[in-house]
């Protein structure tokens, strides 16, 4: 391998790069085109159609232009306001729990103890199996007559009789939260674990040499180092939780008496359940606006936070 051949290939690369400037653009279009087209037809077009539909009174029969009527109705509806608030409450509490549990889980699985490889596999099933199937399991756990939770509560003397977790307003909502947390935690755990393992050992060793304790190292090294992953996970988790449908639908269908109705459930009931496409479409538009606003605010806060922590 002489300098000459290196020079030769460098020249080749240079010539080639000049030659392929134009084709590269078209080659990229050729590669991405199909995926883009598919998304445009199946996602973007329907979404645009939804915006149009939100100004219509539309059902199975036909559609009629009604202007902002659908939106006015939502603005005035107290029930809808409650649903919006409930959805954000649902999102914050569920995501908060997922992050806390995920952080605890990642710390536990990051500990240098035998068997941790197996433990890492064992936490994954809630994520791997279909949510709908996992929910059947939870439906069973929450069952008042035969469920193990009701059974254990009675056995321990906390409950004085069979307790139907999904039949009462408060417990139905929080039962759905628990199941949502159960589904979402493995993913958060896994990503935080990966982030923890990506932290340079030198930092810990230097701190250890300086006599820093475990708690100090965790607060001052681990947390700041995994902060970028933590906040990214929070946003992803928030969007998925906001849109979480299967869990609530299977466990409570939004009940009892609307206690677990989030925006998604409400939209589904109105549009697909009652064929009121126009009113449903207006709700979809509201959801998209709320989610976009949330994501935007989040990104701004995120940038500030990251700058303060001084990472990247």
């Amino acid at each position: 391998m002489s300098e000459l051949s290196e020079l030769q290939s460098a020249t080749d690369a240079h010539v080639r790069s000049k030659r392929t400037v134009l084709p590269e653009k078209w080659f990229a279009a050729f590669l991405i085109g199909p995926a883009l087209l598919f998304i445009l037809v199946i996602v973007a077009w329907p979404l645009a159609e939804t915006v149009r539909l939100s100004f219509m009174e539309a059902g199975l029969g036909g559609e009629e232009y009604v202007g902002l009527a659908n939106y006015e109705e939502l603005l005035e509806s107290k029930r809808f306001h409650q649903t919006v608030l409930r959805t954000f409450y649902w999102m914050f509490i569920s995501v908060g729990l997922k992050l806390v549990l995920g952080l605890i889980g990642a710390m536990l699985l990051n500990a240098a103890i035998p068997g941790r490889g197996l433990f890492r596999v064992l936490i994954m099933p809630p994520w791997v199996i279909p949510i709908a199937v996992g929910c059947v399991g939870w439906l069973w756990l929450y069952n008042g007559q035969f469920g193990v939770l009701s059974g254990a509560g009675q056995y321990l003397g906390i409950l004085d009789g069979p307790y139907e977790f999904l039949a009462y307003k408060r417990s139905a909502f929080y039962s759905a939260v628990v199941t949502d947390v159960w589904v979402g935690t493995p993913m958060v755990t896994l990503f935080l674990l990966a982030a923890m393992q990506g932290v340079s050992r030198d930092l810990y060793e230097a701190a250890w040499v300086d006599g820093a304790g475990r708690c100090y190292r965790f607060r001052r090294i681990t947390i700041p180092q995994i902060m970028p992953v933590l906040v990214t996970m929070a946003l992803y988790s928030a969007i998925f939780t906001f849109n979480s449908f299967d869990i609530i639908w299977i466990l409570t269908q939004g009940g009892p008496r609307g206690a677990s109705t989030t925006l998604i459930i409400d939209t589904y009931k109105v549009a697909i359940g009652n064929y009121k496409f126009g009113e449903g479409a207006a709700r979809v538009v509201v959801i998209v606006i709320l989610l976009s606003a949330f994501a935007a605010v989040y990104m701004i806060l995120l940038n500030k936070l990251l700058r303060r922590y001084g990472s990247k």
Binding site: L31, A112, G137, V148, G151, V229, F245
Partner: protein, 285 residues
């Protein structure tokens, strides 16, 4: 490593505490499966006994044979689930592989904008798009066909696939492709003969991730876009165990566990690559 071992040594008490905490964490993650399994072993009349019993002596595997009689189409549902998930995975990969390569290697206008656009789809994934999709699929005459469950699945998984595969492809050294170019190979040839073989582990990781997600998503599409009984995937079909008079819980649990076997098997064989592949993208950012 040596210094690390010294640093991270736990006292006996701490070790016991760690294992106890892990046990509680795992119990939360596995409790539903544990209870589903125990229920599938219980004869139905046992479930009505009072007071509640955690354990019983009359465990049997009868539910695993009876369930095929109670829900005659059960085998069909499991087949449908596998068929839909496999089709979604196959189609998604056809769209994802070229696009991910372009994002990993090529320079072109609107690169980051279009990538962000793909990612934004994730934001609307799921129930938000159900209504517009319902109308589009109705217009195309695809309601109540396999396509009604396959097409939305593909659309929602393309962005995830591109995102994951792109970060994988970026880790393959460019020099190998450069060498092929120097030898006069075309870009397409290089993609097929150099990049894809090297990317096989990554393709498997992304494929498995897509498969698992596709398997999981079926419920919502099935109940919304499909009224044909013969085409139901397992998650929707499970509800047939809820009869007019009674629910055969034990058989329902048995069917649910048998139904997730395919995806669990795929996961167990490939979990090592899967965990590594998924987290690789996260650590980078």
């Amino acid at each position: 490593m040596g210094a690390n071992k010294m640093m991270d040594r736990y006292t006996k008490l701490q070790t016991v505490g760690l294992y106890a905490a892990i046990a509680v964490f795992l119990l939360f993650m596995l409790l539903p499966f544990l209870e589903m399994f125990l229920t599938s072993l219980r004869p139905l009349q046992h479930l009505f006994r009072r007071p509640y019993q955690f354990w019983s002596e009359d465990f049997s595997f009868d539910a695993y044979s009876d369930m095929w009689v109670t829900v005659p189409l059960l085998g069909r549902y499991i087949f449908n689930s596998i068929f839909i998930a496999t089709s979604v995975t196959f189609l998604t990969m056809i769209f994802v592989v070229p696009a991910a390569y372009a994002y990993a290697r090529l320079d072109f206008p609107f690169k980051s904008a279009s990538l962000a656009g793909f990612l934004a789809v994730n934001m609307f994934a799921g129930a938000v798009l159900l209504i517009p999709l319902y109308r589009v699929l109705r217009m195309m005459g695809l309601l109540n066909t396999y396509w009604a469950m396959i097409v939305p699945g593909v659309a929602f998984l393309i962005p995830t696939g591109i995102w994951l595969l792109r970060s994988y492809l970026e880790k393959i050294p460019r020099e190998l492709e450069e060498a092929a170019f120097v030898d006069g190979a075309s870009r397409m040839y290089t993609l097929r003969r150099v990049v894809l073989p090297l990317a096989t582990p990554g393709l498997i990781v992304v494929g498995v991730t897509v498969f698992i997600s596709a398997y999981s998503q079926q419920f919502i599409f099935a109940i919304t876009f499909n009224q044909t009984r013969e085409l139901q995937p397992l998650p929707a079909g499970l509800y047939e165990f809820i009869g007019y008079q009674s629910v055969t819980w034990n058989e329902m649990m048995a069917a649910a566990l048998v139904g997730v076997l395919p995806v669990m098997v795929v996961f167990l064989f490939l979990q090592k690559y899967l965990v590594a592949g998924l987290t690789a993208g996260a650590v980078k950012e």
